[in-house]
């Protein structure tokens, strides 16, 4: 089932006198193709959860339309939309066993959808097997680990075979190891069921690792939509470039003079653009250790991370406190040396307008 959002807007009116209304989601249009896993990504307060709740039907949009396939569901209550929602803290009913929790949505079905007890039990066991909790059916939620609770919540959302599955920060309550495992699990379940899935996260790594597409939002406005790798490689603006990637992108003040990009006094790259001031973003993996490289930095330290080495340095033009570069562990860094020189991979360097923060494209 494809999901279409058309100029979706949500305004929270300000209750204090003379205050301004808060636009949580501003004119969001997007078509989510059938059977895809889409991540809504952004810092807190960017409107991603509001968007999810509008798709789910728990919040009413102030403007715009929502379609599931060809059906306009904008004014439908949640129970008639055919959505499954997994809450951030799972919202499992604490007084019911796992089985009762999963079965609960089925017991609410009325009229011709009504199931017999055997059918309900069969569906419950099926979906419990899918999320691999069929051995825990008689436990109470308080007797489960976080990861198991998460699975129960997913099972409860899936059991009535929703047209769209919605996940609100599905991994935020899990520890690091479980997070890795669960995100693959979500991917597997999504692919096995083929249900169009939308999930919300503030963790870019999480979004990038499992999504078919990501939507980056800021203050209610969509910044960029695309495949995770494309968004990473080709950010639309400084915000998106900063938000994606760990360690984060290095940002410098720069200037183009005579077609050459200067960071401080270092002529870094020939970009062939008219003279102007710019903001330069360089991905940590965009630096190459090079004794004759154009860029000078002062070494502060080296962090060894096994496969890679992260060189922490400073540069006067840097807008971040430190310049962090990631290089292969085989290349030797002379920590005793005062400075280090880099050359730059051109496709890992982006230019932005200092005022609008929009991307300035250039050809190498």
């Amino acid at each position: 089932m494809k999901v279409v959002l058309e100029n979706l807007t949500r305004v929270f009116p300000n209750r204090t006198k003379g205050g301004e209304d808060v636009v949580a989601v501003n004119n969001f249009s997007f078509e989510i193709p059938d059977g895809k896993l889409v991540g809504l990504l952004g810092p807190s307060g960017c409107g991603k959860s509001t968007t999810l709740y509008m798709i789910c039907g728990l919040q009413k949009p102030s403007g715009g339309k929502i379609y599931f396939g060809e059906d306009d569901v904008t004014d439908l209550p949640p129970e008639h939309r055919g959505v499954g929602l997994v809450f951030q803290n799972y919202a499992l009913y604490p007084h019911m066993t796992v089985k009762q929790n999963i079965m609960y949505p089925l017991q609410n079905l009325k009229g011709e959808d009504k199931l017999t007890k055997d059918e309900m039990l069969k569906r419950t066991v099926e979906v419990a097997k899918l999320v691999q909790i069929d051995n825990l059916l008689d436990r109470k939620p308080s007797e489960l680990s976080g990861g198991q609770q998460q699975r129960v919540a997913i099972a409860r959302a899936l059991v009535k075979m929703p047209r769209v599955l919605l996940l609100d920060e599905p991994l935020s309550n899990l520890d690091a190891r479980l997070r890795l495992q669960t995100r693959e699990e979500i991917r597997r379940i999504q692919q096995e069921t083929g249900i169009t899935t939308i999930f919300v996260t503030h963790d870019q790594e999480e979004a990038m690792s499992i999504s078919d597409m990501i939507v980056v939002m800021k203050l209610g406005v969509v910044q960029q939509i695309g495949k995770p790798q494309n968004v990473y490689d080709d950010p639309a603006n400084l915000f998106v470039a900063k938000f994606l990637g760990t360690p984060p992108i290095n940002v410098f003040e720069g200037e183009i003079r005579g077609g050459m990009l200067f960071i401080g006094d270092d002529p870094v790259l020939a970009v062939g653009k008219p003279d102007r001031k710019v903001v330069v973003g360089i991905r940590p993996e965009g630096f190459i250790l090079d004794e004759r490289g154009p860029m000078h930095c002062k070494i502060k330290g080296v962090e060894v991370m096994g496969r890679d080495v992260s060189v922490v340095a400073t540069n006067e033009a840097s807008l971040n406190p430190v310049v962090r570069s990631i290089i292969s562990a085989e290349s030797k860094v002379d920590v005793a040396a005062e400075s280090v020189r880099y050359s730059i991979k051109p496709h890992k360097l982006f230019l932005f307008d200092p005022e609008t923060e929009e991307r300035i494209p250039f050809e190498v």
């Binding site: 789910c56 039907g57 728990l58 209550p77 949640p78 129970e79 008639h80 959505v83 499954g84 929602l85 809450f87 803290n89 919202a91 009913y93 604490p94 007084h95 019911m96 609960y104 949505p105 609410n108 079905l109 409860r156 009535k160």
Partner: protein
């Protein structure tokens, strides 16, 4: 932990409360026990210097006294009927209050008013509402209840006046006690409802629950600790029922034609006091304590299975 050398300070701060508790709670409990087990203990005769034997004569007297079982029956009946009715009503009212926004605070205040009103005063108002005045030919009724019944074409009922039936009396008592018990229960249950995580309701909404299913399958189980609390305190309060009857029927504890018919356990205890018959009163008090203890233990046992924390 407090430094052991400074513990005297802690004791100093606690002292006023401890002294009051010792004088007004601990000593009376001990004294009740003492008086109950001294045969035929009488306050006046004790002052005169008479000595009493240790024994269970007082308890025998209580149980052999015919009015005792009338009191026990009335008390138990009122408890068994009013506690479930008032709990259910309080649940429905607080769930309705919880789901409205407009006038919520105002209605909350209205529902809470009986709690801060004097029970005797309320009893007198109830007596007036259910009153009935009979003249030779026509029944004239001063009470609003009979007026309403007659307005709809019904026959007036003798609720509380001389010649009224036992069950007419009981209906008035039950209405009064339920109404009087509601505010506290609503307060507790509404507070409990407001502390239930809203996400459960969102989840239930997405799952397509009807309102009644949400109430019985989500709200009530999540509210069960509060419900257990109001039921247990309700039973304890019910067994101590006394002022309501005095409020409506006066010290006769019943309509003029059948004084004492509506007497309760606490009423029975008080009856013994004017005669300085402290032994009997103490024995009755201990019996009441035993009954409340047993009922509360049963309540706790039942709620263990039903309450989800």
């Amino acid at each position: 932990m407090v430094d052991s050398k400074k513990q005297w300070k802690a004791w100093l701060y606690l002292a006023p409360a401890i002294v009051l508790l010792l004088v007004f709670t601990v000593w009376p409990i001990i004294n009740t026990l003492r008086m109950a087990f001294l045969d035929n203990y009488n306050g006046m005769r004790a002052v005169a210097g008479e000595k009493f034997n240790i024994g269970i004569e007082n308890f025998k007297k209580v149980v052999e006294f015919k009015d005792f079982f009338v009191c026990l029956k009335n008390t138990a009946l009122l408890c068994v009927i009013t506690v479930p009715v008032s709990t259910l009503l309080a649940l429905l009212i607080s769930s309705a209050l919880n789901s409205i926004k407009f006038l919520q605070k105002f209605l909350q205040t209205i529902f809470f008013l009986p709690y801060v009103t004097n029970s005797i005063a309320i009893g007198m108002v109830f007596a007036a509402m259910f009153n009935m005045v009979r003249t030779v030919r026509i029944i004239q009724t001063a009470g609003i209840v009979n007026n309403v019944i007659m307005f709809f074409g019904g026959q007036p009922v003798n609720w509380i006046n001389a010649g009224s039936t036992y069950w007419a009396n009981m209906v008035v008592m039950i209405i009064y006690i339920v109404w009087n018990a509601l505010p506290f229960k609503i307060l507790i249950l509404l507070g409990g409802m407001q502390s239930i995580n809203k996400q459960y309701y969102d989840a239930a909404k997405v799952d397509g629950s009807s309102r009644s299913r949400i109430l019985w399958k989500i709200t009530v189980p999540l509210l069960s600790p509060m419900i257990a609390y109001v039921v247990i305190t309700g039973f304890i309060g019910g067994f101590k029922e006394y002022t309501s009857i005095v409020g409506i029927f006066g010290e006769n504890m019943g309509p003029a034609s059948a004084a004492g018919r509506l007497n309760t356990m606490v009423g029975y205890i008080y009856d013994a006091l004017p005669n300085n018959d402290y032994g009997r009163a103490s024995a009755a008090a201990l019996i009441l304590f035993g009954i409340i203890l047993i009922v509360t233990l049963i309540n706790l046992q039942v709620s263990k299975k039903r309450v989800h924390y």
